[in-house]
Each structure stands twice: as structure tokens, then as C-alpha cells.
């Protein structure tokens, strides 16, 4: 299983599942992070603790722990 956390910089993937608890899942969805969405990894913060991704036209920062809950596949 590949998650968003494993993606390198500039890697483009498709979301196939959100394994987050209910609240966080809602949060993800309200940001457009949902099934079928295409995500691009833009940048990693020092020590890879935080990741910047791009969904549609929106840039979103999230922690590695959260990225781990997002299952993705290569496109």
C-alpha cells in the first residue's frame, strides 16, 4: 500500500482511499482531498515533517502523519 507520505517531490498521484477518522476525513474532503483527486507533492519541510501538496489549484500543507492516512496510486 502506497501512501502520500511515501511520495517524493514533484510526484503526481491519484487518491484511492482516505483512511482517516471521520472528523479528519471531513476536513480532507473540505479541502478537496478526496477519492479520484489528483495530488502533486510540491515541497517537504525540513526533516520531512510537513508536506506541501497541490490539489486542483489549491496548495495545502499537511503533516507526514496525516499524509500517511491517504492511500494513493501512481498515474
Amino acid at each position: 500500500m502506497k501512501t502520500l507520505k511515501d511520495c517524493n517531490k514533484y510526484c503526481k498521484v491519484k487518491i484511492i482511499k482516505l483512511n482517516a477518522p471521520k472528523d479528519l476525513k471531513q476536513r480532507f474532503i473540505s479541502f478537496g482531498i478526496m477519492k479520484e483527486a489528483i495530488v502533486e507533492v510540491l515541497e517537504h519541510a525540513p526533516a520531512k515533517s510537513t508536506i506541501e501538496i497541490k490539489v486542483g489549484k489549491m496548495r495545502i500543507a499537511l503533516r507526514a502523519e496525516e499524509a500517511e492516512l491517504i492511500e494513493v496510486e501512481k498515474i
Partner: protein, 712 residues
């Protein structure tokens, strides 16, 4: 205009109450500002508006009330601000919704729009930032969009004031029309289920304010209020199995066990459809956007943090260097003002009140206006360019280690300006524990009002070249101390699981000079207003307490001595001694002497002790108190009568360091304490904060004093 309406209700018939809704950072507040000439605070990050604000204005024959609601990505209750918006939209009375969307990111914004469309309220869509969309070659066919979703769509730009009148006209038109049929279509399986529920409700002639379709959608989405209402109806027994089946059907269709997720996907599909129809993007942008290019440097894994530190250092250098230039003139002005006004007043007591009390006290505070302005410009730039979120991104890992949330950075940075908005902006944190923790730490970020004290002491004890660095050091060490305190609190009082960190990184925007000017002007005027009212009042009080009670015997005994003295210098010395002893036996002297033993281990004389106590009201009062006390105390050296000199002469280096440390840590001010208590939710938190900050301030100052003593 509808005749029936105006007959039944002639007064409020021409009143339109508008709820302004949109995702964070789409320019809602800026839109209100350009519609009504109001001056709401705007910035380039999500969470600038944390509470609803009402703005009133008249247009044509209508009274408008516009309610600016905090930005929300979707109809959720994730953060407090989202709850404010959601509750307002569901429970309050209003006539129409203006949904503000960012034209450059339509698909994302429509997510909220589509939820609004299911609410059976009148909606007008403001396609904001249409000027920016033009620049990015994004063309929205507004007429076609209007046709597709069934609500008016108006292209506007809050920044250039384009289309504002058309928007309001559309609102009036929509308000007057009785037709209201948004066209939001779901996928076939969902539409089938909706149709079935509608059919069922219709069959039983269920009475409802909302349309059957609306009720059906709410039921399917699991809306608690709709459920509660229907639960007591006799039709519920039959309706329930239908609903269970319907939900199962939809969930199956979406391969999900979460109906909310399924609906989100439904909305997203609808929005994709709309966007594909109405947007023509001339050139497909494959090259990097400006924002991405800037981000390559500013959030670089290696250079990002050093660049940020450099920016902060430059800000404090500028604060000191440029701020020092006009200070001389301001100081000279108040000196001149005191002399001029003083010479016109015959009565000694009144003259002393005006010159030594009000003018010295207020002057000491106004002196720092240039520094304050530079600091405010820096913070306004940080807020309006979009850099703030980048710093939150860079520092989240670091903050996380200290038990703080990356988004805590935003209230914390705001805290460098003023603690009050900082306490308010902590609402962007969802978790109560995170929020409380952040609230406790905000005070460690030295606010603008403390700057005068720092500038005063840095100027008194360090060379001008070093003073800027000292300032930077004070702010950084305050922040680091705050982080350490956060860690301690997280390990003890606020234990718990970490909250997730998901945050939008807004596009970089070049802030308009007008916007910056406006923000800085408002804040500076507030500072001056405070100096003219609250601080002047406090200075008068301090003056009174330091002048009374009069001691006739002491005055007379000195009068004899002065008479007898031969040389002018002896006379002056005696006069100075008299002033000192008079001050010491005044009310304030008594308070100071009483509390002196408490502060003695920190190396404070009674004047400093008093200044710290009056500083509980506001930090500017520290400076004005010192101003009053040292101007009354009298200087032997007539040529060097500025406060800076008085301080460097009367206070030892070690005591000064300890004093700065206390100022850095203890309670910001009375007003901030009130806001803190309100935001924290209970008065007990205020006592915790008071005890916590006082103890930390005392201990740290004690250490600093003894370390400084050792080195000097």
C-alpha cells in the same frame, strides 16, 4: 416591489439582510469594505475574520445589513469559526446569501456553493477576483453559469471595485423575485432516492417550511435537525426503512461507508461538470506559477528558516534604526510643549499636573509611535502577502516538537502586534487543548505596547549599533521561552493527542499600498487614541499618587536649608533632595516601598516596582510611569533631562536586564486579560495565567539579574 409586502410590513420591507459566505481567503471582508466603505481587517491567510461582523449601509431605497461570516471550506463544524458560520446560516434570520467565490479557483469554491444551493435560501454568487482571473487567462461565462445552476452569478473584483453595483442590483432583484430554484443535480442513484422520499412526503402531505426536495436531501445527508423534527411524526415508522435502504444504495454506489463522503463526491462531480462548461482557459498553464517560483526559495528545506530569521532580524533593525530618527524631534516637541504650556499656568499644582503628569506621561508613550508604525508595517506585510502560512509550514515540525500546532504560529505572530487579536485568532485551532495552550503562550510574544519599554532600555544601555540586535534578541528569546513554556504545559497541564495539521497555503499577493497604509493607520490611531485617553488618565493618576499627600513640615524644613545654602549648585542639590524625599513619602512611594522587598531580589528600586504594577493596566503605562517618576524626581543635570538618560543614570545594568525579562513575561494588559478570559472560557484560566506568568517572570528575572551581576 411587491405590494403585499410593503402593506403588511412597511418599515422592514426595504431592509435587506445579507449573509456573506465563502471559503476562507476569497476576499469577503474586502468586498464588504468596497461595498460600504467599512474598514474591516483583511489579510492573506485563512482565519482573518473569526467572528461575524455586521456592516450597515444604504443603497438606492434599501437599507442593507451585511453580515460578514468567517470563511468556511464546507458545511462542517471542524473549527470554531466554521461553527459560527454554520450555526448562523441554519438558525438565524436573513433574506439572502451572497456567496463569494474566488474566480481563479472556481471548482474548489463551488464545493461550498453547492452545499448552499441545497439550503432553499436565495443565493447570489459573487465571482470575486475576476481581475486576477483575467490575468491568468481564465474566462468564466457568467451568464451560462447562471443558467446552469439557477442563481445569479456576477463578476466582481473587490480590489478594483469592479461590478460592485451590479452585484447589489442583482441582490435587490433576487430579493424582490419570488422564484427561487437552484438547479443542483445529483447522480442518478441519488436523484432516484430523493424522488422516492419526495413522493412519500407528498403522499402524506407532510407540512414543512422547506421544499420536500430540501427535506429529502437533508435526511439523506444525515442532518440531525431534520431527523429530530421528523422523528416525532407518525410517518416516521414508514419513512425510516426507506431512508435506510436509500443510504445503503448511495453508499454502495460510492463504495464508501460514509454518507457524507458520498455526498461530497456528488457535489464534486456536479462542480466538475459546471466548471468544464463555463470556464474557458485560453492557454493551458504548464509552466510554474509565480507563487511556485517564490515558494522554491522561501520554503526551501535548507534556506527557508534562515531567510525567515533574516526577515525578522531586519524588521527589528529597521524598527530601531529608522524609528530613532524622528524620536529626537518628538522628544523636543513635548519638551517645548511642556515649557510653553507650563509657563502659562500660574498654579503650581495644576502646572505640575499638566506638565509632569499628562505631558510627560503621554509624551513618553507618543515618543515610540515611529517604532510602532514600522513594526505594524512589518506585521501587515507578513499578513497580507501570504508569507505567514509559509512560515507556519516551515515551523510546524519545530513547533510540533514543543507540543504546539503549526497553525498556532498565526496567533503567535499576531501577538507581536497586539495580544488581543492574537487571542481572538487562536480560534482557528480546532482542539480546545491546543487553543488553550496557544492562549497561554501568546503573552510570551512581546506585543507592540512592550516595544517602547524595550526601545527605552536598549537605548539607555546599549550603543545605537547594538540596540537593534538587542531588540531582535529580546523578541527571539521571548518566543523561545514561550516554546519552552508550551512544552512544559503540554507535558503537564495540557496532555493529550496531537491534532492534525491541514492548512491552505494561499497564493502570494502583492499587497496594495492602500491596504497596508490603511491597516497601519488604523492600528497607529488606536495606539495614539489609547495614549490620549487611557494612558493620559493613568498618567494623571500616577501623578496624583506621586504628589500627594503634601508634607508641609518636610517642605518647610528644606525651604530653610535652601535659603541658607550659599552656592547655586548646593541649592539645586537640596531642591533635588527635597523632591526625592517628597516622592518617597507620597502614596505611590508608599506603595513602592511596601512592595520593594518583594522586588529587591531582582534589583528593582521602588520606582521600578511601581512601574511594573501600573504596567498591569497597560504596558505603555510602564514608560509613562517611569516618565512621571523620573521627571518629578528631578535631574541635577539640566542639559540631559531625557528619560533615556535618567534611566541609564539611575538603574544598574543588571536591574535593567531583570526588568526587561519581567516585562517580556508577565501579563500583557488589562484589556488583553479580559479577552483572554473570554476566549479561554472560564475565569479560572485567568488566575492560572496570572500565577503562571508571574512565577515564570519572577524566576527568570531572578536568574537574569544574578547572571548579569556576575558578568558586570
Amino acid at each position: 416591489m411587491n405590494d403585499v409586502d410593503s402593506k403588511t410590513c412597511p418599515i422592514i420591507a426595504k431592509h435587506i439582510k445579507v449573509a456573506l459566505v465563502g471559503q476562507p481567503n476569497v476576499g469577503k471582508s474586502m468586498l464588504i469594505n468596497s461595498v460600504s466603505n467599512a474598514h474591516l481587517h483583511v489579510g492573506n491567510f485563512s482565519g482573518v475574520t473569526v467572528d461575524k461582523t455586521e456592516v450597515l449601509f444604504d443603497y438606492k431605497a434599501y437599507h442593507f445589513t451585511v453580515v460578514d461570516l468567517p470563511g468556511t471550506y464546507a458545511f462542517t463544524d471542524y473549527t470554531i469559526e466554521e461553527r459560527v458560520t454554520h450555526d448562523y446560516l441554519c438558525a438565524e434570520n436573513y433574506d439572502i446569501i451572497i456567496n463569494v467565490v474566488d474566480s481563479t479557483n472556481l471548482e474548489k469554491n463551488l464545493q461550498l456553493t453547492s452545499e448552499l444551493l441545497t439550503m432553499s435560501k436565495k443565493v447570489v454568487i459573487a465571482l470575486n477576483m475576476s481581475d486576477e482571473a483575467d490575468k491568468e487567462n481564465i474566462h468564466i461565462n457568467a451568464e451560462y453559469m447562471e443558467e446552469l445552476i439557477g442563481v445569479p452569478c456576477i463578476k466582481v473584483s473587490a480590489a478594483t471595485k469592479l461590478g460592485i453595483e451590479e452585484l447589489i442590483d442583482a441582490v435587490i432583484l433576487k430579493h424582490e423575485s419570488s422564484k427561487n430554484k437552484p438547479k443542483l443535480v445529483f447522480s442518478e442513484p441519488v436523484e432516484e432516492e430523493i424522488a422516492q422520499i419526495v413522493w412519500y412526503l407528498d403522499k402524506h402531505k407532510y407540512e414543512s417550511k422547506n421544499s420536500y426536495r430540501n427535506v429529502a436531501i437533508n435526511l439523506l445527508k444525515g442532518n440531525k435537525k431534520t431527523y429530530a423534527k421528523l422523528h416525532d411524526e407518525p410517518i416516521w415508522t414508514e419513512l425510516q426503512p426507506i431512508l435506510i435502504n436509500a443510504s445503503r444504495h448511495i453508499e454502495l454506489h460510492h463504495d464508501s461507508d460514509d454518507i457524507k463522503e458520498a455526498f461530497a463526491e456528488e457535489y464534486a462531480a456536479f462542480n466538475r461538470g459546471v466548471v468544464a462548461e463555463v470556464i474557458e482557459q485560453k492557454t493551458v498553464v504548464s509552466k510554474k506559477t509565480t507563487t511556485e517560483k517564490i515558494d522554491n526559495i522561501l520554503i526551501h528545506p535548507l534556506f527557508g528558516i534562515p531567510i525567515f530569521l533574516f526577515f525578522m532580524w531586519s524588521l527589528f533593525q529597521l524598527t530601531f534604526e529608522i524609528g530613532a530618527i524622528p524620536m529626537e524631534y518628538i522628544d523636543a516637541f513635548f519638551g517645548w510643549l511642556g515649557d510653553t504650556i507650563g509657563s502659562t499656568i500660574g498654579n503650581d499644582d495644576i502646572r505640575s499636573l499638566v506638565v509632569d503628569g499628562i505631558i510627560a506621561g503621554v509624551g513618553a508613550v507618543v515618543l515610540f509611535v515611529p517604532n510602532i508604525i514600522i513594526l505594524f508595517i512589518g506585521i501587515a506585510l507578513l499578513e497580507s502577502t501570504g508569507y505567514m502560512s509559509r512560515v507556519a509550514f516551515l515551523l510546524d515540525g519545530f513547533f510540533h516538537k514543543f507540543g504546539l500546532h503549526g497553525q498556532s504560529f498565526i496567533p503567535l505572530v499576531t501577538g507581536f502586534g497586539c495580544s488581543i487579536p492574537a487571542y481572538m485568532s487562536a480560534r482557528i485551532l480546532k482542539n480546545d487543548r491546543d487553543r488553550l495552550l496557544t492562549l497561554f503562550i501568546i503573552g510570551f510574544m512581546s506585543c507592540g505596547a512592550r516595544l517602547p519599554v524595550y526601545v527605552l532600555f536598549a537605548g539607555a544601555f546599549f550603543s545605537p549599533e547594538m540596540a537593534g540586535n538587542v531588540l531582535f534578541l529580546i523578541y527571539i528569546s521571548g518566543a523561545l521561552l514561550g516554546l519552552t513554556a508550551a512544552k512544559v504545559l503540554k507535558l503537564t497541564a495540557f496532555k493529550g493527542v496531537d491534532e492534525p495539521f491541514v492548512m491552505e497555503m494561499p497564493k502570494y499577493r502583492l499587497p496594495s499600498v492602500k491596504l497596508i497604509w490603511h491597516t497601519v493607520l488604523t492600528k497607529t490611531m488606536m495606539y495614539l487614541k489609547k495614549a490620549g485617553t487611557f494612558i493620559a488618565g493613568a498618567a494623571m493618576l500616577v501623578w496624583f499618587l506621586s504628589n500627594y499627600p503634601h508634607n508641609k513640615i518636610l517642605e518647610e524644613s528644606y525651604a530653610v536649608k535652601i535659603e541658607k545654602a550659599v552656592s547655586a549648585t548646593d541649592k539645586l542639590k537640596l531642591q533635588h533632595k527635597l523632591d526625592e524625599s517628597l516622592l518617597e513619602q507620597s502614596y505611590l512611594g508608599a506603595i513602592g516601598k511596601f512592595s520593594e522587598p518583594l522586588f529587591e531580589p531582582l534589583g528593582f528600586d521602588w520606582k521600578m516596582s511601581v512601574a511594573l504594577q501600573t504596567g498591569l493596566a497597560a504596558k505603555e503605562v510602564v514608560v509613562s510611569t517611569l516618565g512621571v517618576l523620573y521627571s518629578l524626581g528631578g535631574d541635577v543635570d539640566e542639559e540631559n533631562n531625557s528619560l533615556v538618560n535618567a534611566i541609564s543614570k539611575n538603574i544598574s545594568f543588571a536591574s535593567a536586564i531583570a526588568f526587561i525579562v519581567v516585562i517580556m513575561i508577565y501579563l500583557p494588559c488589562l484589556a488583553a486579560s479580559v479577552v483572554f478570559t473570554r476566549e479561554a472560557g472560564h475565569i479560572k484560566y485567568f488566575f492560572y495565567l496570572f500565577t503562571f506568568t508571574s512565577v515564570v517572570a519572577y524566576v527568570m528575572a531572578y536568574i537574569a539579574y544574578n547572571v548579569a551581576l556576575y558578568f558586570t
